[in-house]
């Protein structure tokens, strides 16, 4: 696996992954709420 050693790029890719995970988490909570109500 090739590693990017530029700290800025690493931080940006980390933030992107974190952002995606947060969005996925919010969507999951939304669907869990619907499932709990049904």
């Amino acid at each position: 696996m090739t590693r990017q050693n530029d700290p800025k790029r690493i931080r940006r890719s980390r933030n992107n992954v974190l952002g995606l995970l947060l969005v996925a988490f919010v969507i999951l909570i939304f669907f869990v709420s619907i499932a709990k109500m049904s």
Binding site: M1, R3, Q4, N5, P7, I10, R11, S13, R14, V17, L18, L28, F31, V32, I34, A35, K36, S38
Partner: protein, 300 residues
């Protein structure tokens, strides 16, 4: 000693590696099988959430394990490339990551699924990260036997997530993995023995010797045979599972006999029977639990 703080921040792939994705695949699979084999159904979104919580909890425990064992990992060929021994991540980051994942998984399990499942999940994380990693592993050659309980929790949690209570069946699933773990891990320890000895981990082959380890592998394989068939005998599983369990466990026993009754021929011994037993043990567990689920869904 690992780097206290790397000038280059850890990549997200390093955090992912910290969760031991390969181990997690077995955890997800057995957890899912426990959930699907249970007699009650839950909403697919809740089922997905339960499995996600089991996986994230296991990932958190794995991160805490690597945080604690960073120095030992650096001394073993098999683990030296991990993010902490390589200095790609600080130990504090790994610890915090493990704590956040573990607490997050338990809270989500409690709020979305139920607090009994959450309590067992919390127990499994503490069992792996504290009882096994910190307490037993560096102290006793029975570390794998007792620590094997940590890996046995996922099907129990999956079952409890679906039904809300504990019955004999999920306890049997727990027991099957518990008795499967020592022969599985000791087969590995036999052919990576020198690595464990180098860092002072009292693995059974290092402390009790190879002959004793081989005999104990055989004992556990003998015990596993009736135990794996027990879910069929008590009526908790049907014929697909029962026949699969008999065939698979006889295969496990046959390979264990080969390992149990042989001796290392010399320094150039390729340890082929031990490697075959280790490889088969992984297939065994996947196939056994797949048969359990097939039994629930395929009418026969």
């Amino acid at each position: 000693m690992t780097a206290a703080a790397s000038p280059i921040p850890a990549d997200w792939r390093d955090f992912f590696a910290l969760t031991k994705p390969r181990v997690m695949s077995l955890v997800i699979f057995t957890g899912l099988c426990g959930l699907l084999a249970a007699p009650e159904r839950i909403h697919p979104v809740l089922a997905f959430t339960a499995i996600l919580c089991i996986a994230v909890g296991a990932g958190g425990a794995a991160a805490l394990n690597q945080w604690w064992e960073a120095d030992l990992d650096a001394g073993m060929k098999r683990t030296a490339a991990r993010p902490l021994p390589q200095g790609r991540m600080s130990r504090t980051d790994a610890r915090d990551f493990g704590v956040v994942l573990s607490i997050g998984a338990v809270l989500l399990m409690g709020l979305a699924i139920g607090w009994l499942a959450a309590a067992i999940l919390a127990n499994s994380v503490v069992y792996y990260a504290v009882v096994y990693t910190i307490w037993l592993k560096p102290r006793t050659p029975q570390n794998i036997v007792i620590g094997g309980g940590a890996g046995a929790f996922p099907p129990l949690i999956g079952w409890v997530a679906a039904t809300g209570d504990i019955t004999l069946m999920p306890v049997l699933l727990f027991a099957i993995i518990f008795f499967w773990t020592p022969p599985h891990f000791w087969a590995l320890a036999l052919f990576v023995q020198s690595d464990y000895a180098k860092v002072g981990i009292p693995m059974m082959p290092v402390v009790a010797g190879e002959t004793s380890t081989r005999r104990q592998i055989l004992i556990y394989a003998v015990l596993l045979l009736p135990l794996s068939v027990l879910p069929w005998w008590i009526g908790g599983a049907g014929r697909i599972y029962g026949i699969s369990a008999v065939v698979l466990s006889l295969g496990f026993l046959a390979l264990s006999i080969r390992v149990g009754l042989r001796h290392r021929t010399g320094a150039d011994d390729t340890m082929k029977p031990e490697k075959q037993l280790f490889g088969y043990s992984v297939i065994y567990l996947f196939a056994l639990f797949a048969a359990l689920v097939a039994d629930r869904f395929v009418p026969l």
